[in-house]
């Protein structure tokens, strides 16, 4: 194995617990990851030693908290090779980051008759904001279709965009299928067409080395909690020139420069987009999560996931009656394996697996239109991260066999 997984596991206190008398096998990482001791300690350290509001305090605690908060921003910028920390906006989650773009850039720039280009594999968070914008503006939404192995059908890449396509948005990695989309190629085509390009990186940044400048996207959104960080922190990377032009999203404290009874002017980037007291503690702890991933090396994280996904695909394919989704080559997919098993409903699979200590996801994964395209009501989904082992894949397979036998009785 590329990573020293046994050593890594020691950093995650939760992995010691038992569920229904069985060791926890946590395979729901696409929903949220577990947190290492280093991240939990960062939270405690902040609250015990330098809890204060940031940016305006003239006291020592405030300065320490401000420095730690802005240091986390710089770490995030470096992590995705953003051109500057100012191009990193902290939000609550990926959903809020995408809504920020739809509400500010979208409302100002999308007009009647324009087109928004998405894919058939959107998570609702990268679908609903655009559908609402289109409805409000009289614009249309078009969806790139899928091939038989659930990759994007991109045969006529040069014809992908229409003169009226104002923005294209898609997942870096599909949360339901695992498919990795060729975002660099699509970004280049979008640029040629004068179309903005947003990447929903919720399943990208945690699992792949990401370089937003190499991708060439205009926006990249992701969440801390799926990459060892706490819940409640999302990131929007935006190309600085675009962010400068955009109107603020929320109004309030921190985002202003000068306020009179008649009006106000806006603060500089990135604070223009961070109204109100932000999630200071969790942003700082997110910085610790980035440190942890940097220490492992994202190339190694990726390699580990290819290894374990490869093993999972091989083992699962040996089960009679299993149907798996997404491209068969582990190099073309993230650490997500979505499947159906015989005539068992995913929720029934999920409940019985849980009694074997195995936590997976079951259902539509917030991709209802995609499930309809696949012709299923839902799937069972196992998703991996840095602490998962091949032995845990074996437990999953044994538990699936037990589930099949349970419903046969």
């Amino acid at each position: 194995m590329t990573l020293d997984v046994q050593r890594i596991r020691e950093d995650f206190p939760i992995l010691e617990r038992q569920v229904y008398g069985k060791p926890l096998v946590y395979l729901d990482n696409a929903a949220t990851s577990q947190k290492p001791r280093q991240v939990i300690d960062a939270l405690v350290d902040y609250y015990e030693n330098y809890n204060a509001n940031i940016h305006r305090a003239v006291h020592c605690l405030g300065e320490e908290a401000t420095a730690a908060y802005e240091e986390a921003r710089a770490k995030v910028a470096k992590f995705i090779n953003a051109p500057s920390p100012e191009s990193i906006i902290f939000t609550r989650n990926t959903t809020e980051a995408i809504n920020l773009v739809a509400y500010t850039w979208g409302r100002a720039n999308v007009r009647e008759g324009d087109e928004i280009l998405l894919t058939q594999m959107e998570h609702h968070s990268n679908l609903i904001p655009w559908q609402r914008l289109a409805a409000e503006k009289g614009a249309s939404v078009r969806y790139i279709e899928l091939t038989d192995s659930q990759t994007l059908a991109l045969d006529g890449l040069e014809n992908l965009f229409d003169a009226r396509t104002r923005i294209a948005a898609m997942p870096h990695v599909s949360n339901s299928l695992g498919t990795i989309n060729p975002v660099e190629k699509i970004a280049a085509e979008a640029r040629r067409n004068g179309t903005l390009f947003l990447v929903d990186g919720a399943q990208g940044a945690p699992h792949l080395p990401v370089d937003v400048q190499a991708i060439g996207c205009d926006f990249y959104a992701f969440s801390a909690h799926k990459m060892l960080g706490p819940t409640g922190v999302g990131v929007l990377y935006g190309r600085p020139e675009l962010l400068e032009e955009m109107e603020p999203f929320l109004g309030g404290g921190e985002m202003i420069r000068k306020v009179t009874y008649e009006g106000a002017t806006w603060n500089d980037l990135p604070w223009k987009f961070e109204a109100g007291t932000p999630n200071i503690a969790d942003v700082i702890a997110f910085g610790a999560a980035i440190d942890y991933l940097d220490h492992l090396g994202m190339e190694n994280v990726r390699e580990h996931e290819v290894e374990i996904t490869d093993y999972a695909l091989t083992r699962l394919s040996q089960l009679e009656g299993i149907v798996m989704y997404g491209p068969p080559d582990p190099r073309e997919r993230g650490g997500v394996v979505s499947f159906n098993f015989g005539d068992l409903h995913p929720h029934d699979i999920g409940t019985v697996l849980d009694h074997h200590g195995v936590a997976i996801r079951a259902g539509h994964h917030c991709t209802q239109p995609l499930m309809r395209t696949l012709g299923v009501s839902g799937t069972a989904r196992a998703s991996f991260y840095v602490y998962n082992t091949p032995e845990e894949v074996d437990v999953l397979v044994e538990a699936l066999e037990a589930t099949r036998d349970f419903f046969k009785r």
Binding site: Y20, G21, H345, P346, H347, D348, T351, V352, H355, A362, G363, H364, Q368, M371, S377, G378, F406, F407
Partner: protein, 153 residues
Amino acid sequence: MSLREEYARQEAELDELYKEIILDHYRNPRHRGSLASPSATHEGLNPLCGDEVTVELLVEANRVADVAYKGSGCSISQSSASMMTEAINGKPLDEVKHLSEAFTAMMRGEESIDPESLGDLEALSGVRKFPVRVKCATLAWHTVDEALEEAGL
């Protein structure tokens, strides 16, 4: 309780959830299909799981003269729908509404309800131990309520 006893109890919970009678209804659904000219119909959805249950009722003289359901979803949602059709077929509407209230109350764990009084439906009481699955069990009954209300019955 020792750890061993605790685990045994948890094993038993799974058997309680998937009782034989529930699996029987799942494998051999009763009244599955549609009616020629229903007096009331409604499509119930459980957005959390994607369970779908459509219920059709033929009401004559304030009585359920016939009932059918179709849908897709987990074993709990579909077997609950099948059990529901058997429980309400031929019953006067006020009794159907009473039964629906009693069943939902049982699933909420209200102590005023004696599960034994609900006949076969009692089998679904094991679902209470699995809070996320309770909505699967109540979907068919909420769908009946909605169908009757929409038809003004």
